[in-house]
Symmetry: C2
Subunit: 188 residues, 2 copies
Amino acid sequence: PPSSKKDYSNRGMTLEEDINAANMYYVARNLASVHKKPTPVQIVNVDYPKRSAAVIKEAYFKQASTTDYNGVYKGYHVDFEAKETRNKTSFPLSNIHEHQVTHMEQVTNHCGLSFIIIRFSPLEETYLLESKYVLDFWKSKEKGGRKSIPHAFIKENGYHIPFHFQARVDYLKALDKVLAKLEEDEHV
Amino acid sequence: PPSSKKDYSNRGMTLEEDINAANMYYVARNLASVHKKPTPVQIVNVDYPKRSAAVIKEAYFKQASTTDYNGVYKGYHVDFEAKETRNKTSFPLSNIHEHQVTHMEQVTNHCGLSFIIIRFSPLEETYLLESKYVLDFWKSKEKGGRKSIPHAFIKENGYHIPFHFQARVDYLKALDKVLAKLEEDEHV
Ligand SMILES: [Mg+2]
Ligand SMILES: [Mg+2]
């Protein structure tokens, strides 16, 4: 176990590493079952040496048709993309690919919980932002609108994910707030 | 489009190909968003040639920690494994790996719809069987019980998936029956 206090900070860890650690923690605690999807690879040539494991000798990266993570939490289908930016004042939409937006739209249509986890690295701030907002900004961008989501907008409409020792990006707490709001809206 | 009637039959198509085709049909019709997870690969060495795509030069197959397919349907988290057997009278549990059983258990615990799609190839019969039954047989096997699930049991407790021209393995129809039963049980 790490002995210096410095090791507990988020410095040097990527957002993906933090989310993977959180997912392991959630599975170990039986809180949720969320996994990162493997990188899609087009395998062209495989070698089968005697007495040892098959070796892939030629393969190419394929574009993912979905988002990075999905799984189940409290019966809800959870699907999200993780994105880091070095910007301080806004999240550039160029970080998101068209096919990811299409996928977010589909998950939302089928009543899944679709969102992105955005980290502003220089600020050391991480937020959960529901896809409906991302889709709004995306559509407005396509009509000639702004090409990024302001930090202030994300701060107001997203949910801040504080650093947590055991689950570095403890996004389930933020998700609980989304769920509370959904249930509130249903009962109005 | 295929012109002979023979092409419409399931002969020669693997179960995975049929399910992939069904998923494409469902996405195109906006009925569900279900995808096959990519094969997990441990990438060791990548070449970056000038002016062309990166080439993976050394990689190894990793064991999947989850099941083959997942996604969202009518707000439900859907997660399943596809398995073909050449047997006629039973489905051997040796077709399923321990980590897949663990994953099915976790998805079930978090109220996802977990199941397997089993095809008895020689019979040209395909069934949807909820994971709760698989887990029961698995636990009984571990206590020295039988090592397979009888065809008759699957026929009685699972849902037959008839061949459908546009979605060769039209499993959503079978899933609707599972959902109807769940809702019935809730209101008793
Ligand atoms: Mg990402
Ligand atoms: Mg399989």
